[in-house]
Symmetry: C2
Subunit: 295 residues, 2 copies
């Protein structure tokens, strides 16, 4: 695996590879590092489906709010390098902030509509930062396919729309959430949790799991399922502080009417329940997609 | 010359060409059509410097304000097709608005700072529309080089900054302004002018020409040169209504202090005088770049 820290090095490495592999396809896995099994699953998938896999590790300041955890976001470049290579990466791109943003940022890729709910509502500017850095990385790597974890469901929806709107020549591949044995969705931020918080954090996936049955009850309304999810979280975990529990149409992320019984929603339509819950200063997210059966 | 009206047709045509010309470079000339000798000079330059030249004709609604001339912007696809082919275009891309914007536009490329002066000040949102459509076209064509007329000096500066900020793999080539025999900068909008307006419109280039001598007078201030340019326009052309006459550093487009004598500006530094002047409902722009000699 070749490690590149500069844009020039990355570009020349890719150019050499392209010249010797004119028909080769390039898969790309953009990450913020502190890799876990979720990232590894994306890298493995890319390595299976492409001749070359590029992984980037860049904690992007542009997508963190002023009071968020940019400075203390966990970093471990040595372990990441080993993990990326083991999973099948061919090129690891680890630029500095200065390398990615040598000048004040005046150009931004802004995606409206999709970004004003869920994490976009509690993290204003977050998705402009994501759209901007992902655009830059796509222009640098020029991949055929890019792999994202479904855990960041809104991020996937936003990037898919950006790629469509800007005609970016890349296929977005959304990959399933990878979970710990007890159900907790893997996240680089899980290391922040105290043992007690870690034990209670399982409440996110458990509540989403329970909702599977509620989505099968045709007389329950969307609002009632939301209330039950929130209630389950609050009653099972005294340390949990809910940021949001939302149910939206998927993949458009539109708000359905809260009073509609599940049985009256169009059969086979899909809905996503998405959660953001804080444990102390640590904010965790999780989601699950449900297919409505109709009456 | 091959004409493409759909994105699919353009992409497949380019793919076939790329396969048979693995080392061929692609030049791109994005236009809004109603081609004149200025556009032809860009197409010829691209054809000289590349193996394939793509010209696009698309009147982009996103860069017109609600009270601007989108609907009545002049169009002549048949003449344009002939002109593009004569100048050396290999592929002409003429998409409909529906083809370029099949869905409501939620993704925009916004460039701040550079865009709040000159035309950006009098046409709010204009450069977001330019940045967005040029990003889309670059992603569709994936050219090695793109050719723009220096007449839209601010547009060139904005696109150069966008390309740099977003790491878009394209070289921007700014080409000299092409003028009518009497000095009027060529523009698709010149056809709007009545014979009387057309005769007076020469005042833009004449005032910029005069300023050449004023930039050689070390004791004149920036503000005084601006005043003289404006005075020359108003006194020579009763039909002229000035939108702006500005002098900015080039290429950064920063405002120099208005009280600084030319002789005190750093030697060899460059300044651009940029004008926007209305004749009736027709808004014309022109500019010229001056190099300061120092005392």
């Amino acid at each position: 695996m070749k490690c590149c820290e500069t844009i020039e090095e990355l570009r020349s490495t890719l150019q050499v590879w392209r010249c010797s592999h004119p028909d080769g396809s390039i898969g790309f896995v953009p990450t913020m590092g502190f890799l876990h099994e979720g990232h590894a699953s994306l890298i493995r998938r890319s390595a299976e489906e492409n001749q070359l896999t590029v992984v980037s590790i860049f904690v992007n300041p542009l997508q963190f709010g002023p009071n968020e955890d940019f400075e203390r976001y966990p970093r471990d470049p040595e372990r990441d390098t080993r993990l990326a290579e083991e999973a099948g990466a061919d090129i690891l791109f680890m630029p500095s902030v200065k390398e990615m943003y040598p000048k004040p940022v005046v150009t931004k890729v802004m995606i409206s509509g999709l970004t004003d709910k869920l994490c976009g509502a509690s993290r204003p500017g977050h998705f402009d930062g994501v759209g901007t850095v992902v655009s830059k990385l796509f222009n640098l790597v020029q991949p055929d396919a890019a792999y994202f974890g479904q855990k960041d469901a809104q991020q996937v929806a936003v990037i898919e729309r950006m790629v469509e709107d800007l005609n970016i020549p890349v296929t977005i591949v959304a990959c399933p959430i990878v979970r710990e044995a007890d159900g907790l969705a893997m996240s680089s931020r899980n290391v922040y949790l105290t043992p007690e918080e870690r034990a209670q954090a399982v409440v996110l996936s458990h509540s989403l799991q329970r909702a599977e049955a509620w989505f099968d009850e045709p007389d329950l309304t969307v609002g009632e399922i939301r209330r039950r999810i929130a209630e389950h979280i609050s009653s099972s975990s005294p340390l949990a502080e809910i940021d949001y529990t939302d149910i939206l149409s998927y993949p458009d992320l539109e708000n359905p009417s809260q009073d509609v019984p599940i049985g009256d929603l169009p059969g086979s339509s899909r809905y996503i329940a998405a959660l953001a819950v804080k444990f102390g200063a640590t904010r965790l997210i999780d989601n699950r997609i449900y297919t409505v059966k109709g009456r």
